[in-house]
Every structure is written in C-alpha cells, then in structure tokens.
C-alpha cells in the first residue's frame, strides 16, 4: 500500500469527514496542515495538485484527489474490507449519494460556507437571519430523512453519509443549537455519532474550533 497523505485544517468540516472515514477504515496516513487563512492553498505547488484550491485533498501514492465526498467514496472502495460504509447495492448507494449531495449543496455550501466565506474573506460580521433560518431548514430535512426506527442516516448501518453530515452539523451548533424536543431524531443521531470511538479527535475538537471562530467574529444576527 502506498503512502496516504491528507491535506487540511482541523476547523474544516469536510476535512473532518475524511478523518472520520480514514479512522473507520483503520488507515494510517500523514496529515499535512494547509493554512487557509494564510493562503497556503494558493501556492503554485498546491494549485498544480488541486486547481480548485480547497481542502481536504488526498494524496494516495502520489495521485491527488479532492472533494471530501469523492475522497471518502474512493477510500471505502479501495480499502474497505466490505462495502458497509458505502454499499454497492444500487438502491442503497443511491440513498447514500443523495445524502452526500445534500451535504455538499444544502448544508455545506448553503449553510456553512454561505456564512463562513463572507465572514472570513470579506469581513461581513453581521449575518442575515435568513442564513440562520437556512440551517434550521436543513435540520428539518435531516429530521425527515431519519426514519422512526433507523439508527443512522441511511438505515441501521453507519455510512460515509453520516461522517459527511456530522462534520457540518456539529460545526453549526453554535449558530443553531439542536433542541431535542424540536428534533428528537436528529438529536438522538447526533448523540450516537458523538459516542463513536475517537470522535473527539477526528471531529469534535475541530467542530468546536470552527464554532469558536464563528462566534468570535460574528457581531450580530440581523
């Protein structure tokens, strides 16, 4: 097996989704920090590997892959002992894919990046209330995706959809706490995810970092 390198920062939700997956697969990897606020992702070397200049990026034996969802799918396909984390059955996989694209679009772009980017890049420290409402709309959807008797997002088995979703959801709790009464299933799912082995080091600590960064910089919800 060649060398695995994960490029990223702790605060980044998609980086943490990859960390959760690498850990679940029992994979050893080198972690290389890319200081986003210092613009390291715009270095010539990094751009050659990833012209979208985002994190996370995975290097496997010198080959570069980016986008957390693509990385997670690749890792399970290549290194998973079985297909539980990303089922090969077409219908089951379609459900995981839908959850992953929901995270990519509605949650990460629509909620996380839509607040974080103007805040950190353009100093827009006043956040429109509509952007907070959008988080609750996403939570409403997640509550509906979680069936009455199901343990995880796609059924009773953990999949990479859970890792992807929890990385973003956990980062938004400062702006939009999840009340158990309002979101009984989502709240129970989050508790379950937090109890995963090594959750704190793979996701929890980084999520708290992002929560703190957001709360330190946001001055007002308008």
């Amino acid at each position: 097996m060649g060398k695995l390198v994960l490029y990223g920062v702790e605060a980044s939700p998609p980086v943490r989704a990859c960390k959760l997956t690498l850990d679940a697969l029992g994979l050893q990897y080198e972690y290389k920090l890319v200081n986003l606020l210092a613009g390291e992702q715009m270095n010539k070397e990094y751009l050659l590997k990833n012209p979208q200049h985002t994190v996370p990026m995975l290097e496997d034996d010198g080959k570069c892959i980016w986008d957390s969802h693509a990385i997670m799918a690749y890792l399970v396909r290549k290194y998973g002992k079985n297909d539980e984390l990303y089922p090969k059955d077409y219908h089951k996989r379609a459900m995981v894919d839908q959850r992953l694209h929901f995270e990519s679009g509605v949650l990460f772009q629509g909620c996380v990046r839509n607040i974080a980017f103007p805040l950190f890049k353009h100093n827009q420290t006043e956040v429109p209330r509509t952007k907070i409402d959008a988080i609750y709309e996403a939570y409403d959807f997640l509550e509906s995706f979680l069936g009455l008797k199901q343990t995880y997002l796609c059924g009773n088995n953990l999949t990479i959809a859970d890792y992807s979703m929890v990385s973003s959801v956990s980062s938004l709790l400062g702006l939009a706490p999840i009340e158990q009464q309002r979101y009984p299933k989502l709240s129970a799912w989050l508790d379950r995810m937090e109890k995963l082995p090594d959750y704190q080091s793979n996701n929890g600590n980084g999520a708290q970092m992002l929560i703190d960064m957001l709360s330190a910089k946001i001055t007002k919800i308008v």
């Binding site: 012209p51 986008d67 693509a70 219908h91 839908q98 694209h101 990519s104 772009q109 959807f141």
Partner: protein, 221 residues
C-alpha cells in the same frame, strides 16, 4: 425491466441532467410533470416519496430515488452496457465524483439556486453583485478543469458532463459566457451541443431563460 418514471420540469437543470443520461443510455421512461408553481412537489403523495420535495425524482423497480447526481450514477451503474459514462477505475471515478460534487455545491447551490430561490420564493427582482461573482467563479474553475481535457472529467464523455452542462448553460441568463475569455468552456459546450440527444437540455434551457426574462429580472450594476 420495470417501468422507469422521471418526475420533473424541463426548465430545471438537474432534471435535464437526468434526461441527457436517460437518452445517452437509450432508456425509455415516462415523464411526469411536477408543477412547481402549483406546489405539486409539496403534495402529501410527493412528500411520502421524496421528503426533500425536489425535482428530479426517479421511480424504478418500486423505489424512489432523488437528487440528480444520485439518479444518474444509479442509472449508469444499473443499465449501461459499459462503464464509460461513470468509469469503474477508482481514480477516474474519483475525478467524475469530484466534478459531480462541484456541481451540487459550487455550481447549483452557490451560483444558481442562490439566485433563483430568492426570485421564485420571495419575488426578488434584482440579482446582487456577489451572486454574479459566484457565477464568474464557476466559469473560471470550469475553464481550468478543461485546460487539458476535451470533457469535464477527462478525455471522454461522462455523467459529469451532463450534470455540469445543464446548470452552466442556464447561468448565462444572469451572466453571459465571454467566449474570448472562456475559450475551453465555450468549445466544450459546442462539443456537447453536437450530441444527437442534446435537445434534452436545450429545450429546457430556453424555457428557463423565458421564465427569468418574463419576470423582468435585472442584475445589480
């Protein structure tokens, strides 16, 4: 093979990505129009099948699948004679996947829906400057992705082309694609226009343009 049913409207880019894929695979299907203006996607029957109440939605073999990217991956995996539209090679697949997630995140959510949601849901008539910047960002990235490739994910047609072209050909109603600046992007669109089934996209693009123009939408100066 059971009956395939696609639910949607032609104006919707992700619906068109599915129509392009179904046509490429030569698959017959029923098309059921879901009148979004009449809130048909919010009916109890639709919500039971798709709690995210979006289009497109696919019914096949008794199951309901939604999100265009999930649908097109499913269709190719299940019905294609070979894997060229969604390569099984892990690294090639990872590139197609990245392009698909780029579409659902950066292109559809950040560039298109961030403009259309306020228009269709809140009657907004003016597109803010930063939303135009988000479209420029998309065109810039796609030009880069196409630097050494004839197709969006490499040297041949894949479902990533269907997914990206459906949205990218819808964005020019807000910001035209400068052919002098975006040489590769323009050439790629022309290349796809030559596909025998390209009308599965072009008809809907015209409908989408018509919708926006009829609403009298302008862009912040």
């Amino acid at each position: 093979m059971g009956k395939i049913t696609l639910y949607g409207v032609d104006a919707s880019p992700p619906v068109r990505a599915c129509k392009l894929t179904l046509a490429a695979l030569g698959l017959p299907y029923d098309f059921v129009v879901v009148n979004l203006m009449e809130r048909e996607h919010l009916s109890e029957a639709y919500l039971k099948k798709n709690p995210q109440h979006t289009v497109p939605m696919l019914e096949d073999d008794g199951a309901c699948i939604w999100d265009s990217h999930a649908i097109i991956c499913y269709l190719v995996s299940k019905y294609a004679k070979d894997d060229s539209l969604y390569p099984k090679d892990l690294l090639k697949r990872a590139v197609v996947d990245q392009r698909l997630y780029f579409e659902s995140g950066v292109v559809f959510t950040n560039a298109l829906r961030s403009i259309t949601a306020p228009i269709f849901m809140h009657g907004i008539k003016v597109v803010p400057k930063e939303r135009i910047q988000a479209i420029t960002e998309v065109y810039d990235f796609l030009e880069t992705f196409l630097k050494d490739n004839d197709y969006i994910a490499g040297d041949h047609l894949t479902i990533a082309d269907f997914s990206v072209v459906s949205t990218v050909t819808s964005l020019p109603v807000f910001l035209e694609i400068d052919a002098a600046k975006y040489v590769k992007l323009t050439a790629w669109i022309k290349r796809l226009e030559k596909l025998p089934y390209y009308s599965e996209n072009s008809v809907g693009v015209q409908q989408f343009f018509g919708l926006i123009k009829n609403l009298g939408i302008t862009v912040e100066a």
